[in-house]
């Protein structure tokens, strides 16, 4: 038994080193709202190319600060187009590598069925104690949520009931635990394969907020890394696009 195990180990390490000759790792910073689709894409990417994508999830503003201060990320999938553009202008990216990988959609969601009607009229009725949004100052989905509230003329009336998550994941957490009865989250967080995963929701009409363009860019650290370019290409491929759309993103 012991010998078989050792032989297995030796065989495994031989295969691993053979693959390693061609395969590489790529460090990716991923906006929190894109967590679920990116995990799926990374698994497919690894299967198809042999490269491994090491994913870090978080707020776009935080990633900006980290990248500017020498974080070793090679590809950046932001929650907006402003931050990658800014990095472009500041010369810490590979010029010309920026592209829109997804267009985010906003949804008003409650973990309870029957709370959010399909016209979003619950917002006007105001029979709730807390409405969760992502921080409008730092998170594009939060800024979009505020825009919707302003266009509906509800921004002032609702201000006292807003609770703010640091990013869209935390906002989702506030609603999912029921501490906020409802909140504006990314459609991708509550939708899988075109279906709502639970609770009740109103998909906010696109006309009520500026499109949330999410741009990806290859960072300076990934300049000479084939795996970084491979991932950027893969994100634009049919397989990835299908996954991205299945989470409710526009493209």
């Amino acid at each position: 038994m012991k010998f078989r195990f050792v032989r297995l180990l030796v065989a495994a390490s031989c295969i691993a080193s053979a693959v390693a000759a061609h395969a590489a790792e790529v460090q990716v910073a991923v906006a929190a709202n894109f967590t679920a689709p990116m995990q799926k894409i990374a698994a497919e990417f690894e299967r198809d190319t042999g490269h491994t994508a090491l994913l870090a999830f978080g707020a776009t503003g935080k990633f900006y600060a980290q990248i500017k201060n020498g974080a070793p990320f090679e590809v950046f999938l932001a929650a907006d187009d402003k931050t990658p553009t800014r990095l472009d202008e500041e010369g810490v990216t590979v010029p010309g590598s920026r592209f829109t990988y997804a267009i985010g959609r906003l949804v008003l969601w409650s973990a309870q069925p029957g709370v959010v009607d399909d016209q979003g009229e619950v917002l006007g009725r105001g029979d709730f104690r807390h409405l969760a949004i992502a921080n409008p100052k730092t998170a594009p989905y939060g800024a979009a949520a505020m825009e919707v509230l302003r266009r509906l003329g509800l921004a002032d009336g609702i201000a006292a009931r807003l609770v703010t998550g640091e990013n869209i994941s935390q906002t989702y957490q506030f609603v999912a635990t029921g501490n906020a009865e409802l909140g504006f989250v990314a459609l991708s967080q509550v939708m899988v394969d075109g279906k709502l995963t639970g609770g009740s929701a109103w998909q906010v009409p696109a006309g009520l907020y500026d499109p949330i363009r999410q741009d990806a860019v290859i960072l300076a650290a990934g300049r000479d890394k084939p795996a970084a370019r491979a991932l950027a290409d893969y994100l634009r491929g049919d397989k990835a696009v299908a996954i991205i759309k299945s989470y409710g993103y526009g493209l």
């Binding site: 707020a59 503003g61 935080k62 900006y64 600060a65 104690r129 807390h130 969760a132 921080n135 100052k137 730092t138 807003l162 609770v163 703010t164 998550g165 640091e166 935390q170 957490q173 506030f174 635990t177 029921g178 501490n179 906020a180």
Partner: protein, 223 residues
Amino acid sequence: MITAADLAAIRLTLELAATTTAILLVVGTPVAWWLARTGSRWKAVVGAVVALPLVLPPTVIGFYLLVALGPHGPVGQLTQALGLGLLPFTFAGLVVGSVFYSLPFVVQSLQNAFEAIGERPLEVAATLRAGAIDTFFSVVLPLARPGFVTATILGFAHTVGEFGVVLMIGGNIPDKTRVVSVQIYDHVEALEYAEAHWLSAGMLVFSFVVLLALYGQKKGAVR
């Protein structure tokens, strides 16, 4: 420069730290006294529970508080039944979180002070026919004074520096739950580095002064 929102965050932070410390001194004293005196086999269990926040990441504490205090959690159902409403996103909720988070800093300081007193002064007081309450206030409290100073300073300072717990259960509401550490995080994320520097430097100076006061006091106690 320091903005009105920054000042509000500072005021709120001091309020939270003061409230938390006051509660911890009242609640922590009997716990620490029991831990210092008991021979019970539960001592290890209670001591371990008290020390939990020392090793748990604040996000874990915050996450479980969010779940427990929420509408489906046991504490949340209790507070609702009592007509108190729900605690997350309120100042009271932050106080609950902070009390748990800073508990070991107060209880362990007091416990050390109580243990250092030893049996002898208590036996002397008993031969003078002092009751338990009298002994505590006339003998134990004065002898444990340095321990109380340490507990107060550490409890206060640790609450001021709290971040993960507030982030999880706070909701970042101005004047209610947006404390200094969260405000700094916001500034950094919004790329307002000048504002972030002002508040961070203030926090750094504050922490240093607090620790200086603490170690100065400890030196005095030894003499």
